[in-house]
């Protein structure tokens, strides 16, 4: 039983994990509040699973400290920690029935058969699997196996549940259903959930706290809404999608606005709140895709060079139901995406190859930290952007 407190707050302080010469996690500090649903999000190899396994006690940090509910837990067994893990492959024991899989932990603790089966049936009912109690794991579908794995993890009465890519083995339809169900179970139990995923939509759909990771470090840890609408770095902006990243040199500062121009003459302005941008310094900004208006370019010369606008050619048009995703080829070759509400788009439809002018407002431009090209390479492996 978890010692004393039921507090599921997790503090990771200065944790580094090396495998040989490779640092999977580098000096990472993170606090996950009690009873939070936290998603660790990032491309494969970013260290998110390693963090999960260190919290679970299946790996030990090379340096640093992990506390759960205030107690240092490095060196303790998973049961002493009060954590339970749901494995990516579910790892249901193939030689035991569903009921015995769920009751396994109680059997190890010497509970009588009647008692452990009673408790296991209770949990199976909670995940709506009581009808399948006598089946073997191989006789269940992926979604059913996942529910059993969830029940088996919960029978230890953990204060923290760790989920390693819990939905990756399911088809699209089940994935959407199960993620809602995970959220429901988490609310019902009132315990901390930590969910590792590489899917942006999954993370922002369920999590209270989204932690975006890259190369063993945290890029940004914030609410889903903040991650999506106010990315801190160019990496997060690119990884989450939903944003266009622009960069350039500060040309002048006027009326508290910095005017930034890139090497192709595209310029944008942004309110210079906080410290004054220095003329000649590099600045990276992002503009939300759904805050861009696009119109047919009439006379390139007039529009070109205007602040907060961009000329280009329509490269792709994708109808998404409630909006149309318009990809405009920039002079630099990088795509610039505008999400146009369907009504607006179909009032005066554009075609591929049309010359267009994209415009936005200075107040929708966000200043980002870090290098402008951060995350460009990882986009491909992460399976692209979501909106």
């Amino acid at each position: 039983m978890p010692a004393g407190t039921r507090n599921g707050e997790i503090r990771i302080v200065g944790v580094t994990k090396r495998f040989g010469d490779m640092a999977a996690v580098r000096d990472l500090t993170l606090t996950i509040p009690d009873k939070a649903y936290c998603c660790l999000l990032g491309p494969s190899g970013c260290g998110k699973t390693t963090i999960l396994r260190m919290i679970a006690g299946h790996e030990s940090p090379t340096t640093g400290e992990i506390r759960i509910g205030g107690e240092p837990v490095v060196g303790l067994s998973p049961v002493q920690r009060g954590t339970a893990m749901m494995f990516q492959s579910y790892a249901l024991f193939p030689h035991r029935s569903v009921l015995d899989n769920v009751a396994f932990s109680l059997k190890l603790r010497g509970a009588s058969k009647a008692e452990r089966h009673r408790q296991a049936r209770e949990l199976l009912a909670k995940v709506r699997m009581e009808r399948f109690a006598d089946r073997l794991p191989a006789q269940l579908s992926g979604g059913q196996q996942q529910r059993v794995a969830l029940a088996r993890a919960l029978i230890t009465n953990p204060r923290v549940l760790l989920l390693d890519e819990p939905l990756s083995a399911l088809d699209e339809y089940l994935r959407l259903r199960m993620r809602g169900e995970l959220r429901r179970v988490q609310k019902e139990l009132g315990i901390t959930f930590i969910h590792v995923t590489h899917t942006q939509l999954e993370a922002i759909a369920v999590a209270d706290l989204v932690v975006v990771m890259a190369q063993g470090a945290i890029e940004q840890a914030a609410s889903a809404q903040e991650i999506f609408t106010a990315p801190r770095t160019a990496y997060v902006a690119r990884f989450m999608g939903g944003q266009n990243v622009l960069s350039g040199t500060v040309e002048r500062v006027a009326d508290g606005h910095a005017i930034v121009v890139d090497e192709h003459g595209v310029s944008f302005s942004t309110a210079a709140n906080g410290e004054e941008p220095v003329r000649g310094s590099r600045l990276v900004g992002s503009i939300r895709r759904d805050r861009i208006s696009v119109s047919k370019a009439q006379g390139c010369a007039t529009a070109s060079g205007k602040v907060n606008s961009l000329l280009g050619e329509v490269h792709a048009i994708e109808y998404q139901g409630s909006y149309v995703k318009l990809t405009i080829e920039r002079p630099s070759g990088e795509g610039f995406v505008a999400n146009i509400i369907d009504e607006d788009f179909f009032r005066d439809p554009l075609d591929i190859g049309d010359s267009v002018l994209a415009r936005w407002s200075a107040r929708d431009v966000l200043i980002l930290e870090g290098a402008a090209d951060a995350g460009e390479a990882s986009m491909d492996e992460a399976g692209g952007v979501l909106i």
């Binding site: 049961v79 790892a91 024991f93 029935s97 932990s105 190890l108 191989a138 006789q139 088996r152 230890t156």
Partner: protein, 280 residues
Amino acid sequence: MRHAAAGPRPWTFYVFASFFALFVLFLYGPMTVIYILSFQGPTGGLTFPMTGFSLRWFHALVAAERVGDIGGSFSRSIVLAVIVAVLTVVLSVTAGLGFRRRFPGSGVVFYLAIASLIMPGLFVGLGIAVGFQLLGLDIDWYTSALGAQLTWTLPYGLLIMFAVLGRFNRAYEEAATDLGATPWQRLREVVLPILLPGIIGVALFGFTLSYDEFPRTVLTAGTRNTLPLEVWAMTTNVTSPALFAVGTVTTIVSFIAIGVALISIAVIQRRRTRSSGEPI
């Protein structure tokens, strides 16, 4: 089973099919002859024609009619094969589990263990016999011959365990630990049951390799023969179909061992995949 777009067979098909026919003929032809001739009539000899049909030569094996110590060598062989199978299972399973974690020198240890597969068995046996003599120990089937056979079965067992463990998902062990299992509980409740079909395979290999082992055993068994040694002796001094009867009986024993192993593996696999318990 013809493919949908079945054209004429390529010529290679006929080459390989003929080869396979020859293979089957060479393997099963002589054996079938032996099985048939073991039922030779009471006055018949080592070759066709059959002069009748009788169980006389099987009877000759039991009643020690100057055909050698068939009963004794048979029981020694069975006991030895069981001991070899048990030791092979215990040692290869533990070694296989140990090798999952790379340790300094694990490569060297592995190749040292595997090397005995390519060493000429006769000389391994000779070396062991000479070694026992040097140490002033008597060679016997349950000491020197047992050791000699283990140099043959253990590397096999280890290789089979590597194949078995290669498909074993370590998440099972982590899940057991996560649910509160001690290392011993993890082994007993999770690892061994999941590996059981493979372990039965190792036992089967250990049994059958020992049961008909000749080169390593011939110089290490001492005065009391195992069955293959006894049969070998018989071929030089027994001129009756009783020799064939030995072949028939030993084949039946081998098939029983294989049958028991395969059936138990099939039962385990079926229990894990088929519907058990109440219908849904």
